[in-house]
């Protein structure tokens, strides 16, 4: 299963490091990553493979939110199918 992780918030050093470490600790593989500053906000999107992750998606969502609260950014983790469904007619 794959998921999309989105980070939105005020830019500061170490966001990518902390999020990457968080994912690596749980066996999640980052397959794609992009990062930009959008309207003054740090915006990062990752495609993550969860096939070797030790947690369920629901557990991971909760942990990611906690991490976001600690760093001071919003972290959303969602099953990739919701994006495919909304934006890909051929699904």
């Amino acid at each position: 299963m794959k998921a999309i992780l989105t980070v939105i918030g005020k830019d500061k050093p170490g966001i990518i490091a902390k999020v990457s470490t968080f994912l690596a600790d749980r066996g999640c593989n980052i397959e794609d990553i992009s990062q930009t500053i959008l309207q003054g906000q740090f915006t990062m999107i990752m495609l993550i493979d969860l096939s070797r992750c030790g947690e369920t998606l629901a557990e991971l969502v909760g942990d990611a939110k906690t991490l976001g609260d600690e760093i001071g950014v919003s972290i959303y983790l969602q099953h990739e199918d919701i994006f495919n469904a909304m934006h890909d007619v051929d699904l």
Binding site: T36, Y76, I82
Partner: protein
Amino acid sequence: MINNQNILETVHMVQKEHLDVRTITMGISLLPCIRATAEATADAIYDKVCRDAEHLVKTGNALAVEYGIPIVNKRVSVTPVSLLTASFSGKEPLLAAALDRAAKTVGVDFLGGYSALVHKGMTDSERSFLNSIPEVLASTDLLCASVGVGTTRSGINMDAVRDLGNIILRTAALTADKGGFGCAKLVAFCNAVEDNPFMAGAFHGIGEADRVINVGVSGPGVVFHALQNAEDADLTEVAEIIKRTAFKITRVGQLIAAEAASRLHANPGIVDLSLAPTPAVGDSVARILETMGLTQVGTHGTTACLALLNDAVKKGGMMACSAVGGLSGAFIPVSEDEGMIASAASGTLCLDKLEAMTAVCSVGIDMVAVPGDTPASTISAIIADEAAIGMVNNKTTAVRVIPVPGKTVGDEVEFGGLLGKAPIMAVHTPSSEKFILRGGRIPAPIHGNKN
């Protein structure tokens, strides 16, 4: 990988524009529960609802977390209960209590189906059933009732319409301490649909499978924001924007519906292509109409804007899911839409304009508070007018009015939560009593006979 702009659009819709799945509703057939006595039938009903819907709430919550999309309500609809009580006249409250207990046990928000379909005529047991509605709605918390009073094929049963005026007033009186709240759980339908996931009018039709998942989508806020970015668009472009947005919204509903049905081992039912507002700011159908260029909803042009919106929602949603059903279209409940509330409070939106709007959208006079001293015959006449619109236009129409005890025009009633608050709206005072007391049946229109 999906492009970043699309990902951020989805995140933004959920976080800022109130995109949600409004309801996952499990339809459950109660036909296997009929026993020799009312007591045994009540027990069987309780057991079946608890068994079939045991994992509904848990599954809905899990899907919401995994897909990152709020699923606001988890509900159950059941076979019209009047079909089960036919041999137990007078004992209807026993079955109602069992259903209410079952709804609480499985943790759903509402359970619909305390219903009777009397669009052509009434049996003695159905008369007894209709009479039980006020006490049942006053003594239960989660049970919702509906009555089908007409169809395009059969005409309008005006005896039932006449009785409903009194039933609604009695329901209001028995729940007077809550502003007549019982009436918020009671709908009168013309052309009632068997797979509606929305309350209070949901019931599980007899043509349905044993266990079915129906999903109602929402998203007025998403459409509103899409149109805000199109200030200079002409109405052809406006319709296109709504279609594209409705497609995306509905695809979410289709995804959740398919996944929920699979996990719950239920038949995949329909997706109801709805724009269902909530009282929250930014989640209003009225504000969409105003974004099209109306200073306030209810003014001239409102019906045309609503017709455009309703049609574009259907066209966009139709391709996005495999089975369309339910009510499908824009909802215009007054108390549940902050834009409608504001317009009704200011006097721009009146009952007559609402009635006109129902000719071009998906439902009817919905969540409208009227003075507590409104005569039963006036309430019946409001139902008759709505039913006539539905019958002649071959569409579903409904009436959910709340005559609020002790309140009159200028007052307000608060129901709380998603049901919101409503200014008391004026009804016409000249009497319709003689018309209503005639009873009988308004014959089906000529185009109702299509064979």
